[in-house]
Symmetry: C2
Subunit: 350 residues, 2 copies
């Protein structure tokens, strides 16, 4: 499906956890060059960023963060630096792809335009209230299957598009250790709506979202003690995804998963998974508390925006999860702080 | 994924709506020949069935039905004749494929063994309580994505495997009329668990199920007035699928959708969709009552088997949907009658 994409609707946010972005950006040039890029330099990175010429981009560093945010309790180092980019963007849509991912090839060998696919996913409706066995009915050549209620075929607005990964999939540290040589070679040519009330682990490696409607829910909440720079050492996107899905379900908005794929390879240190197993094991244990909580959260009907929902959820996190582990109390604080920042930075921009 | 499949665990049930099964069975020979086939001749078919030699099969006709069932209010003509096959089988698994479908080819051009794929789907766990973005984690080369709770990775028993269709997809009559030349060419190489509480239109064209656990829920309930022989004129499988999904959700059993594909072509009269539009339109309207009902059904904890669940649901159908349309009252009666037949025929066999 092709849709008219306005360049000025989209910001591409890149979290620079490595200083040399040359290879990354050259490979993405055909798909990134028409859009504005917001590059956030991980505050822990010392070296100057290397960015090839020919991109419409802004770089934000530690000192920009200090100036724009003032004093904040949120830690924007590591993978969490990208969230600063979500704050300073003024665009309707944001696409974010990790700097260790390159364009993938589809089954026909064609390079995949991940940006275009995310935008198509976001601009066509989602259908969370009934499952369509033929996948996304708005894909070219697809439709609703027999028995799909006509009253539900208009769907709802899709606000989150979760892409996937060829080569090195997004596994946790234990799985990486058990299967260090496994590679994801299965290109599943499908997009689907994740049904209402089905929770999922959203990965921040390759995704897009509607910033206007969902931005306040895309937040750096849960931070593990001793969180490292490898993806499997982080939980920020998993927590954020659970918050987001609950918000979408409450507000009647849609989430899709599937295409586009990116190629995840160079720079992913799968051999290092063993070293981070101890740290990530904390995250694995926390999930056993987190999932039942998010499965049971019900938001009041007075919550009518993503901001409202986050504030409500933060209070529930503090009350119900806070006593179990200090990281949850911190997450609740970060959620409240994030909404404050969102309003403050938004009003600065306006 | 390959699993050891015992021939004596599986019956293949074929509803013969046409008399000449030669081409159908020859094409399926490589995959059907090792299994026992139960062929149910549609009572409306006059001519003798033509079945090529070399298959271990039983044919059941109108007179067999009369003898085994005695007087029954259930109408086993047309597509509903297959349900008689579910009654008389004694196997653990049943695979049922419409007689206008042939083996499909995958993206590599290899003929798909639909029976084997259904059995793999049924013998590996389903994961309905949390969505895995990497599709079926039990497929070869796949696993659970980062953030998937370890406590949910064992999954639950999968009891229903819903396959798909290349070439002519399973659309309703209005969609067929709007898009008479559309063909499904997208081979999506995936199997997925349908999440708990997500309802779906199950198609009876190409599916497999665990007869021991789910059999009493696989029933010919809803029958449209003037139901014809084309798939888009029927609702029996859609109704049956909604019942089944509610039963699975209540009992903690799983449903998968996706592979295997079959090739749906010769014999599907897409040009005839216009003629049946008027009849099927009744089904389309009924769905607007049916879906909210099944979305709201909650079964009591005393219902611990598929039979219990069907009896409970039949009472709710009668009470809540019955007053809206006589077809619903008839469906409720058929559900009760079906459970009676299931017990009676089961005890005859034993």
């Amino acid at each position: 499906m092709s849709l008219n994409i306005e360049d000025n609707e989209v910001d591409i946010v890149i979290a620079a956890l490595r200083s040399d972005l040359t290879a990354f950006m050259e490979k993405w040039r055909p798909f990134f060059s028409r859009f504005h890029l917001i590059i956030i330099k991980d505050p822990d990175v010392e070296e100057d960023l290397q960015i090839p010429p020919g991109f419409d981009h802004q770089v934000f560093t530690k000192s920009d963060m200090a100036q724009i945010l003032g004093a904040t309790s949120i830690n924007f180092t590591g993978h969490s630096c990208r969230y600063f980019g979500y704050l300073v963007s003024h665009k309707k849509y944001i696409i974010s792809i990790d700097d260790d991912c390159l364009p993938a090839r589809d089954n026909a060998g064609t390079l995949v335009d991940a940006v275009a696919q995310h935008i198509v996913n976001l601009k066509t409706p989602a259908t969370p209230f009934f499952f369509n066995t033929l996948y996304d009915p708005f894909c070219k050549g697809a439709d609703f299957v027999r028995g799909y209620p006509f009253s539900l075929r208009n769907g709802v607005e899709c606000v989150l598009s979760c892409g996937l990964w060829l080569n090195i999939a997004d596994y946790d540290a234990p799985t990486q250790v058990v299967k260090p040589n496994d590679r994801n070679v299965r290109y599943v040519d499908a997009v689907m709506t994740v049904p209402v009330r089905a929770l999922m682990p959203v990965s921040g490696i390759n995704f897009g979202f509607n910033r206007e409607l969902l931005g306040p829910a895309l937040l750096p909440g849960l931070r593990l003690a001793g969180e490292g720079k490898e993806r499997w050492e982080t939980m920020e996107d998993i927590w954020c995804g659970l918050c987001t899905k609950v918000v979408c379900d409450h507000l009647g908005l849609g989430v899709k998963s599937g295409l586009p794929y990116v190629w995840r390879g160079d720079g992913v240190d799968v051999r290092g998974a063993m070293d981070s197993l101890k740290r990530e094991w904390e995250g694995v244990k926390l999930m056993e508390e987190i999932v039942p909580f998010f499965q049971s959260v019900r938001l009041p009907s007075t919550a009518v925006t993503a901001e409202d929902c986050v504030i409500e959820m933060a209070a529930m996190v503090k009350e119900q999860l806070g006593p179990l582990n200090p990281v949850f109390a911190s997450a609740a604080d970060a959620m409240v702080e994030w909404v404050k920042l969102w309003k403050a930075v938004g009003s600065q921009g306006a």
